[in-house]
Symmetry: C2
Subunit: 145 residues, 2 copies
């Protein structure tokens, strides 16, 4: 549909070399979000290119949503936030990808969507060592039954 290659198709194709990779599952790739103000904020990117959930065939979609839930559970188990937020937007890059965002009790606006918090507050890039530590914490719980 697009002339330019889809950046998330490219990211999935290069997942093995992705510095933010958490895990590659059957239907998608889990990567740490580039900003880690919300400790453990993870993206789950579909391996299949589609813009909307209802474009996926029913069987694949069910497995994609099951794996998304599995990643969210692992993030929750690793960091014990007050609440998880699950967002599938794609307004800029229309390739299915979930934002799985842990919300903590000391959040600047605990009742609001994260987007109501100033970008200058929520956009904090982790060091490579911090990213590796966060990844290992999530992985430790992703491998549970």
């Amino acid at each position: 549909m697009t002339v330019k290659p889809c950046p998330l198709c490219e990211r999935v194709a290069n997942a093995a070399k992705d510095p933010m990779l958490v895990a590659e599952l059957e239907t998608g790739v889990a990567v740490l979000f580039e900003h880690q103000f919300f400790r453990g904020y993870t993206l789950f990117i579909s391996k299949r290119h589609a813009s909307e959930l209802f474009e996926l065939d029913a069987g694949w979609r069910a497995r994609f949503l099951k794996e998304m839930t599995r990643v969210a559970r692992a993030v929750h188990a690793a960091f014990k936030p007050r609440k998880m937020n699950y967002e599938l937007l794609g307004n800029v890059v229309p390739h299915l990808h979930w934002h799985l965002i842990p919300r903590y009790a000391d959040d600047p606006k605990p009742g609001a969507p994260i987007w109501e918090i100033e970008a200058g507050v929520r956009e904090v890039k982790p060091s490579a060592a911090e990213a590796a530590r966060l990844r290992d914490q999530i992985l430790g719980h992703l491998c549970e039954a």
Copy 2:
């Protein structure tokens, strides 16, 4: 868990009398969101009280997510937005409910989450007649196979 009754449990229990009701499905209730700046903005509220997707048993959760997708598809078919946004937040009321938000080409901030648009712009209540018309448009597509 909470002392006060959960407002979304109450809303589900009284769905038949809900002025914003679109449809009652097996696992949840679809209602128009109170503001209709984004024409067709619909909530899909779980019939079971839970805060997180991974608290639901696997079979029920799969049906809940399938029905959420069905509602999103109907909203999309009825109003033909540029993109659907799917959000499960629950920061204020921790009872599973999806925000299914159509995003249009003439959106004030088409690339951003709706929460970055000022409340004064996006908070527009429909008249009862408008709500009925929107509901009928969604229903017309919800009943498709």
